[in-house]
């Protein structure tokens, strides 16, 4: 039973890896302009995350 489960996990990992590789290859093959659009979106996403994580939350001013 345990052995069967570990085989399934191995298979699953292999499938995930192959999907990831295919996705990366697809991104690599995109035209330069499309790649740059994705690159700018990734930078925006990183900026938003940095702001959310690093900036102190504003104190609420009670009226």
């Amino acid at each position: 039973m345990k052995k069967e489960a570990s085989i399934n996990i191995e298979e699953l990992n292999e499938r995930i890896k192959s999907k990831k590789d295919a996705f990366r290859q697809h991104q690599r093959d995109l035209p330069f302009g499309e790649k740059m659009q994705i690159a700018f979106s990734l930078a925006e996403r990183d900026k938003t995350i940095r702001r959310a994580v690093l900036l102190p939350k504003k104190k609420r001013i009670s009226k």
């Binding site: 990366r24 991104q27 690599r28 995109l30 035209p31 330069f32 302009g33 790649k35 740059m36 994705i38 690159a39 700018f40 990734l42 930078a43 996403r45 990183d46």
Partner: protein, 173 residues
């Protein structure tokens, strides 16, 4: 024509008009050209300025030329056809050589773009030595885009071979 191609076309015209001597895409933009998209906020263009230009005002002719053509300057970027571009000098010998030896590619619409070669990019990233540079070197090596013999030649020539050996474990993913 895609916007990025319009941006490159403007930069090519700057070379034809003698505003810059030569250029090459470098930094993350060049990495993206060879591999998959990674986060970047601008296009890094390394330029040889015209010989005899005043070093304190070396980018002024570029800004003047582009402003005359309606490009807007915001902070360290100048927007060409909607793309934020950063012009960078080729102050170091390694970078100047990377611009001279850049690969030329044809985008659609017969636009030629000059991009630093993977080997020079890796050498420059090693020289710069930030964590993100090491991660990008890892990406390059993973994609098998680097000619290791050529890289070794560049590393030897620019006294970077030792630094490569000292950090090699950081590039292996």
């Amino acid at each position: 024509m895609d916007n990025i191609e319009k941006t490159i076309a403007v930069i090519n015209r700057m070379t034809d008009d003698g505003v810059i001597e030569n250029y090459a895409l470098g930094g993350a933009t060049a990495v993206i050209f060879y591999t998959e998209p990674i986060a970047t906020q601008d296009l890094d263009i390394f330029v040889h300025i015209r010989a005899g230009a005043n070093p304190l005002m070396e980018f002024q002719p570029i800004f003047d030329y582009l402003k005359e053509r309606g490009c807007e300057i915001k902070g360290e970027h100048i927007y060409i056809e909607g793309y934020p571009v950063q012009f960078l000098p080729t102050a170091k010998k390694l970078i100047a050589e990377a611009v001279d030896e850049a690969n030329e590619f044809e985008l659609s619409d017969k636009i030629i773009v000059r991009v630093m070669s993977p080997e020079y990019l890796v050498a420059i990233m090693l020289d710069t030595g930030r964590l993100k540079d090491y991660l990008r070197i890892g990406v390059f090596l993973q994609h098998d885009t680097v000619n290791l013999e050529e890289l070794q030649r560049i590393l030897n020539e620019h006294d970077l071979a030792r630094k490569w050996q000292d950090n090699i474990n950081k590039f292996q993913i």
